[in-house]
């Protein structure tokens, strides 16, 4: 399987998202065709500055995807996912915006005719991963954390308040899943980086809830969520809940070694929790 991949600016510097994605895709024979010369999607900033600019920044990739011959675009970051989808939605609904965006891109030597379908990396693995083949991680309790922008505002992939797609996935590939009430509570995103003290409680509340409900490790699907939950705990000097990426857990389920999956990059170490007989 070949997929057109948009990494986003945080992918490479994340705590093992890149390593684990590449390792898992290699194992599953998924070829990641990264968009050459991709730019920042604009995330939550650009639409607050200039709608046409924001749309063009995102749509530049739609044009590039077109030249690559793909119909779909996959990304692993919630903000990129939401921003690209927002641009796609606006372009489909607003003829004038489409015309103007097309004009801007043409000026840059790019043709925009079609809008690709935007998908999250989670969807790809949900389809590609085989069911669990071993009981090795049956006793490892995982709390799923989606963040906000996978199932909101669209609710196309799953329900906005209490989705189940990640829980089902983790359970299917052999982990013990602990349901909890903070799976789509906001971590504070970029505000938590700037307003550390004020937003600390947002992350702490999520971690506390996941811990209360019996999980030993958290599974995330977005670099900024992973960062916020990871570093919120690293302030405390005690042990915490390791915050992993779902691709890292998928890699473990496939029998890959933690070192291959970038698990050493977590601030709160997962070593103890992952030591299995």
């Amino acid at each position: 399987m070949k997929i057109c991949f948009y990494p986003g600016c945080s992918f490479a510097t994340s705590a093992g998202y890149r390593e684990s994605t590449e390792a898992v895709c290699r194992k599953l024979d998924i070829e990641l065709s990264q968009i050459p010369d991709w730019n920042c999607c604009g995330a939550t900033v650009m639409f607050g500055e200039n709608k046409l600019r924001a749309t063009a920044l995102a749509a530049r990739h739609f044009a590039l995807v077109q030249t690559m011959g793909f119909e779909e675009l996959v990304t692993g970051c919630n903000a990129c996912y939401a921003t690209l989808r927002k641009a796609a939605r606006l372009l489909a609904a607003d003829e004038e915006l489409f015309r103007k965006t097309r004009g801007v891109l043409q000026n840059l030597g790019l043709e925009l005719d079609r809008i690709p379908k935007i998908r999250h990396l989670l969807e790809v693995l949900v389809e590609a991963m085989p069911d669990s083949a071993s009981d090795k991680y049956k006793t490892l309790a995982v709390g799923a954390y989606y963040g906000c922008q996978l199932t909101r505002p669209d609710e196309e992939l799953d329900k906005g308040e209490h989705p189940q797609i990640l829980e089902h996935f983790l359970s299917r590939i052999g982990f013990s899943v602990k349901e909890h009430s903070a799976s789509t509570r906001c971590c504070g995103a970029s505000h938590a980086v700037i307003y550390k003290n004020e937003c600390q409680e947002l992350s702490t509340r999520i971690i506390r809830e996941i811990e209360n409900k019996g999980a030993q490790v958290i599974a995330t699907i977005c670099p900024l969520c992973q960062f916020n939950l990871d570093q919120a705990q690293s302030q405390n000097n005690g042990p915490g809940l390791p915050v992993t990426y779902f691709t890292q857990l998928a890699g473990l389920a496939l029998g890959l070694a933690p070192a291959e999956l970038g698990l050493n990059k977590l601030l709160i170490s997962a070593d103890k929790v992952l030591t299995r007989p």
Binding site: K159, G160, H162, S181, R208, E209
Partner: protein, 658 residues
């Protein structure tokens, strides 16, 4: 006046006040009509339906020798009858009249004035083209069966049945549950008087059972409806109770002895269990149990049991009972199929189904009711009395994602719950609302009273109910999160119990009833009344009336008033004794009929029979509804509907296209 003479057509364009003019240039339309062939006179006038308007038509018929009349105004459903009567009173057969709808179909829906005027001209020309070919017709009079069918045995149906039976008419009341009583039987105290629902209703239930004029069918459903106004023929399916109603004494031994005890009780909203043989509640009417065939060991699982039969002293248990079909003749039908509560599971932010202490209003009602799972004490599932309870308004109502309408009764029942909680438990009550709607008699006073009782009203629609707590000491409780819009702050209140004031929606199965009766429903599924303001109890189907929530959410006082009104309308129909039916019925030309019987197969009213002697199809004029299916099916154009002949319809189309 006969068609032998050349048609002399009078055309009248109505202004309808400001409804048609000036959007449509009515003078221009009238001038245009004056130029048409066979149009003797064309006038425009402000209000054709008024007395002067009608007199204008009458005078013109008499003085100008008109033998056809066209009025271009509103929908025929409004005034076709009016104008036909005017034409008749001038001595002309009323079917020499045709209406063109230039209001609902032109002025109300066309933006551009020029376009509207052109369209009006086309429609009037079409009417003129049609009326040219009209023939004189006669209506029929049919006698009305002096009995009534009421569908639904809740408070609405019971009241309609009682009012009608008290007036001396035979009433058949059909209820699909084992007992009558509907939702009201589940309530504890009712607002604003805090009457106990059972106390005020059980006398009515007994009246219904004992009234010589009411034949009660419970555990029964309407299966088929045939016939027409004044002469409905309804097939009722009596589902097998597996208990002989005539032998059962209501002693209840069977229920005590039944070994299958773990079936969730529907009456108690799934909060307690019942047995396989059961009556839904102690005051059930009739007090005869039914056997739930799915869960019964004998009927559903082919196991050996029959304990109930063993202990029944009157040998009333009958496992071989089969459904029985009863045919009822009724002159009028009153639909009182009620409502159901909105299921809040899809409002995931409220945690219904995930958190055990989140209840719907109906579940909470059962907790309060003495016959409920906790004998009327407000207790949590762990047996404790709650210390703080939140009541959430507008769950599923006033919400474009669920029901966009306001369900009308929830503010009042929410405040009733607040009152009951304060009275029974002294718990701290937080009530989260958007607006307080208390329009009825003594309703605002009730709101005032509840305020005085110290209920904490917070104006803010609840954003989320979660089991995450702020204070570790509140572990195990739920947190209600909302913006208190009046104090401009976010409140996070830890509570023991949450009551969701869910909205109302049409009862399960109302779509099927609608189809059986031919009733249309609005976008939310409530049955359509004939006119929202002026005819809220009648339906477009003559002889079928509405009572209670099936027409729209309402409280008990309004339901009872409406039921009495619907009964009144039905009684009026029965009392008159005759109905005038339409002249537009089918006619089969025996000279053209080839005897293929396609019409007979297509007739939904079974109104056509085959004459074996002449080998042709013949219409039974008493049964024909003029639907036109036979005319469409007939390959030889032998079947046609009077007043909708090919000539007339083609004449209309040709004139429209010219």
């Amino acid at each position: 006046m006969t068609t032998r003479n050349k048609p002399r057509i009078g055309v009248y364009i109505c202004h309808c006040g400001m409804n048609i003019a000036p959007k449509v240039d009515v003078e221009e339309v009238a001038r245009y009509c004056q130029t048409m062939d066979h149009v003797t006179i064309a006038r425009d006038y402000k209000f054709m339906c008024s007395n002067p308007g009608q007199d204008m038509i009458i005078n013109d018929i008499k003085e100008l020798g008109l033998n056809r009349v066209v009025v271009a105004s509103c929908s025929p459903r409004m005034h076709e009858k009016t104008f036909r009567n005017a034409v008749r009173s001038a001595g002309l057969n009323p079917y020499y009249f045709q209406m063109a709808n230039i209001r609902e179909q032109v002025s109300w829906v066309t933006k551009d004035s020029r376009e509207a005027t052109e369209k009006a001209k086309s429609l009037v020309a079409a009417a003129v083209g049609r009326v040219f070919f009209h023939q004189p017709l006669d209506t029929r009079q049919v006698t009305v069966t002096k009995s009534m069918l009421v569908i639904g045995g809740g408070i609405a149906g019971m009241q309609a049945a009682l009012t009608s039976a008290n007036a001396g008419y035979q009433v058949y009341l059909v209820e699909r549950e084992p007992s009558i009583g509907g939702h009201m039987a589940k309530f504890d105290k009712t607002f604003p008087t805090l009457d106990c629902a059972a106390c005020i209703m059980t006398p009515k239930m007994v009246d219904v059972l004992q009234h010589p004029g009411i034949t009660l069918y419970t555990w029964s459903e309407v299966e088929k409806v045939e016939g027409f106004i004044g002469n409905f023929e309804v097939t009722v399916k009596k589902k097998p109770r597996y208990v002989d109603e005539k032998k059962c004494t209501g002693c209840g031994t069977c229920m005590q002895k039944c070994p299958t005890k773990k079936i969730l009780s529907e009456f108690n909203e799934g909060l307690s269990y019942r047995t396989a043989i059961y009556t839904p509640f102690p005051q059930a009417v009739p007090n005869v149990p039914v056997i739930d065939a799915t869960h019964c060991r004998v009927l559903g699982q082919n196991k050996k049991c029959g304990v109930c039969a063993k202990f029944c002293e009157t040998k009333a248990i009958d496992f071989d009972q089969k459904p029985e079909f009863v045919k009822i003749k009724a002159g009028a039908i009153i639909t009182a199929t009620g409502f159901q509560a909105v299921n809040p599971t899809s409002l995931e932010q409220y945690g219904y189904g995930r958190f055990p202490e989140v209840y719907t209003s109906l579940e909470f009602e059962r907790l309060n009711n003495a016959t409920g799972p906790t004998s009327g004490k407000v207790l949590m599932k762990n047996g404790k009395v709650p210390e703080r309870v939140a009541i959430i308004h507008c769950v599923g109502s006033r919400d474009t994602r669920h029901k966009k309408y306001c369900s009308r009764v929830c503010c009042m029942y929410s405040m009733k719950f607040a009152h009951l909680l304060r009275e029974k438990t002294g718990a701290e009550v937080w009530e989260f609302y958007i607006d307080i709607r208390s329009p009825g008699k003594l309703y605002e006073e009730f709101y005032n009273r509840v305020q005085e009782e110290g209920v904490r009203f917070v104006r803010g629609r609840v954003a989320e109910i979660t089991d995450m707590v702020e204070d570790p000491g509140d572990n195990g409780r739920l947190t209600v999160i909302a913006e208190s819009t009046l104090t401009r702050r976010t409140v996070r209140v830890p509570v023991d119990m949450v009551v969701l004031s869910v909205g109302l929606e049409p009862a399960r199965g109302s779509e099927d009833i609608g189809r059986l009766l031919g009733l249309s429903r609005d976008g939310d599924g409530w049955f359509n009344e004939l006119h929202a303001k002026l005819a809220p109890l009648a339906t477009p189907i003559n002889g079928i009336f509405l009572a209670g929530c099936c027409q729209g959410p309402k409280d008990i006082p309004d339901t009872v008033a409406q039921s009495m009104g619907a009964a009144g309308e039905a009684i009026a129909l029965l009392a008159k004794g005759i109905v005038t039916t339409q002249a537009e019925i089918s006619r089969i030309d025996p000279d053209l009929c080839s005897g293929c019987k396609s019409c007979i197969e297509s007739c939904t009213y079974s109104a056509i029979r085959f004459d074996e002697a002449r080998k042709v199809a013949v219409v039974n004029e008493a049964l024909c509804m003029g639907c036109g299916s036979c005319a469409a099916a007939c390959p030889s154009s032998a079947a046609g509907v009077k007043h909708f002949t090919d000539k007339q319809v083609m004449g209309e189309i040709e004139a429209l296209l010219m």
